[in-house]
């Protein structure tokens, strides 16, 4: 255990020293800040002379829109950061160095993921506490709800981090981004649009339908965890608050899709060679 904690500390230091990490965080921060400023200015103009209860409701709505932005930004940020640690430590020799200390590959990967988990934990904690205090003051967030929401927020972000990290154990960051972000968010939607609008007298309708279905189903292989994140509010099931009817199936699907990429990543990692050249298979 101590060996593991030593390695986690080593990779934590490695991660927080990555310039790319802070650039990514900076970009996300700037985007959120700009959105916040624009919305604040609009609200200020609208709220001049309004009643207290209306102002509170509007403030709550603003806070909700921030939460929405954070939800989407957090998934992308974690996906990006998840694929930073392993490629960079391979590049600067830290991975090879640790392997030469008779540390097994699995333990090495676990230590790198441990460092990543600490980053996600601290990041979600900072965002959540900041949000929860503001929401609690406005009276729109119950502490129990907030606690539960944070746990699910953290756990789901960790799932997407795991998928991104597992693939990055053997592949460069760019390839991971292309697979987990480029394909489901850019390529497949583009292809789907094309397939849906495709009308050609030379191609039978059944073939066009098959193409559209294939593209649609291919999209199911890629996790879209943001669909499951209900942060900043999550309450235990009560008769007054019935659950979304298909959440179990949805959750099972997204977790399975993430698990698929974790398994692929670990399988490739097990067979990976840490040389400067590519061995013949």
């Amino acid at each position: 255990m101590r060996q593991y904690l030593t390695l986690v500390r080593l990779f934590w230091r490695h991660l927080v020293r990555r310039k790319s990490l802070w650039i990514v965080i900076g970009i996300v921060g700037v985007v959120l800040l700009v959105n916040t400023m624009v919305q604040s200015q609009m609200k200020e103009m609208l709220q001049e002379g309004v009643r207290y209860d209306i102002a509170t409701r509007r403030a709550a709505a603003v806070l909700d829109s921030y939460a929405d932005q954070i939800r989407q930004g957090a998934v992308m940020l974690v996906l990006v950061v998840g694929a930073l640690i392993a490629p960079s430590s391979r590049k600067d020799g830290t991975t090879q160095f640790v392997l030469t200390l008779s540390v097994t590959r699995l333990r090495l990967a676990a230590a790198q993921f441990g460092a990543l988990a600490i980053f996600v934990l601290l990041g979600t904690l900072v965002v959540h506490v900041g949000y929860a205090i503001a929401a609690h003051r406005l009276g729109i967030l119950h502490p129990a709800e907030a606690m539960l929401a944070w746990v699910s927020f953290f756990a789901l972000l960790l799932v997407i981090a795991a998928a991104s990290f597992a693939l990055s154990l053997t592949r460069p960051s760019v390839v991971v981004y292309a697979i987990l972000a480029g394909v489901p968010y850019l390529l497949l939607p583009l292809l789907a649009t094309f397939a849906n609008d495709w009308s050609s007298p030379h191609v039978p309708a059944v073939l066009r339908l098959a193409a559209a279905r294939t593209i649609e189903n291919a999209g199911l292989l890629f996790p879209k965890i943001e669909a499951l994140i209900v942060w900043p509010r999550l309450a235990w099931l009560t008769p007054e608050r019935p659950p979304y009817p298909s959440w179990r199936l949805e959750a099972l699907h997204e977790l399975s899709a993430a698990a698929l990429w974790v398994v692929i990543g670990l399988w490739a990692y097990r067979r990976h060679d840490f040389g400067s050249r590519i061995p013949t298979k």
């Binding site: 490695h14 160095f97 013949t280």
Partner: protein, 322 residues
């Protein structure tokens, strides 16, 4: 901590054994490059083996296979008689010290932090850890570097720090890949002194290098690898003795103008590779011949430096440099 204290070694005559190891690399659609073609070699316990070979001969690939950074496509590697699996087995934990050519200590750590990290990963704690770090710091002479970040060290300093890390827990097997490559003359000499001081009855050292002088001055055994196969494996002493015996008669060159006098003296000679000189074929003790020549006022124009591994190496590899 002594090597024995690190644990009882499995009973085996060899520390490392490569058995018919094959490894090929591809790059795109180009033809595969066969780095190892049935490499077979036994490294005896307690030996300091210099693995010599031209660039691309398979030295680093062999070491990477030994460390499981690469997985051989065929063949097996044994450590103290135990075959290696996908990872280095737990029983060799703390028993191997490694200094690779292209792998430095984590660049973002200070040398002190890096050494402590290595010690902790190898299971040392508290006072034992501090004592061990003090020992390796003194042994590798890196006191002045302790508070400097690895990223800002010069190549020679990084090598010394890397060796200090490799020596933590005093492992009975040391693997050094091109340990003195890129170092200046004084840094190389200093480094070689350090490696020589590591020789011990229980410690086995495998040094991959293409610097023949370094291998000659530090190793007890020499292995020459070429095109992925071991071409020669011999003790350095025997190799040099044999080379000197064969080459002793070729050492003295004199002016070709005295050829007639040499013939009268019954001294055989042949054309020298140096213009204007002839090479004597020595058939008697060297000092007696030089004495006979001196009596005739013949002074050798050139007495070649003693035979080194270079000639053996060139003979074995055919002067192949790539």
């Amino acid at each position: 901590m002594s090597a024995e204290a690190a644990g009882v070694l499995p009973q085996a005559a060899t520390a490392v054994r490569f058995e018919d190891v094959h490894m090929a690399f591809t790059a795109g659609l180009r033809k595969p490059v066969h780095a190892l073609r049935g490499l077979t070699m036994d490294v005896p316990l307690g030996a300091v083996v210099g693995l010599l070979g031209p660039n691309g001969s398979g030295k680093t690939t062999a070491i990477s296979c030994l460390l499981r950074l690469l997985r051989p496509q065929r063949g097996a590697v044994y450590l103290w008689g135990e075959p290696l699996g996908a990872d280095l087995p737990p029983q060799v934990h703390r028993r191997i010290g490694v200094l690779l050519e292209d792998t430095r200590l984590p660049p973002f750590l200070s040398v002190r932090h890096a050494l402590f990290t290595v010690g902790r990963v190898r299971g040392l704690r508290d006072r034992a850890l501090r004592t061990e770090i003090d020992r390796v710091v003194a042994q590798a002479r890196v006191e002045a570097l302790l508070d400097r970040r690895v990223a800002v060290l010069s190549k020679g300093q990084a090598r010394r720090a890397g060796l200090a890390a490799a020596l933590v827990t005093d492992p009975p097997l040391l693997i050094l890949d091109e340990p003195s490559a890129g170092l200046d003359v004084s840094a190389r000499e200093e480094f070689n002194d350090l490696v020589r001081s590591l020789r011990g009855e229980t410690r086995t050292v495998l040094i991959a290098s293409h610097l023949l002088g370094d291998v000659e001055s530090t190793c007890t055994h020499v292995a020459i690898i070429q095109t992925g196969r071991i071409r020669l494996f011999e003790t350095s002493e025997r190799l040099l003795r044999e080379a000197r015996r064969r080459d002793a008669e070729k050492d003295i060159h004199v002016e070709s103008a005295v050829a007639a006098l040499l013939e009268r003296l019954g001294v055989r000679f042949e054309p020298s590779r140096y213009p204007g000189l002839v090479r004597l074929i020595v058939e008697e003790p060297e000092h007696e011949l030089i004495g006979r020549l001196a009596a005739q006022r013949i002074v050798p124009a050139r007495i070649e430096p003693r035979v080194t591994l270079v000639s053996v190496y060139l003979e074995m590899t055919g002067g192949d440099s790539d």
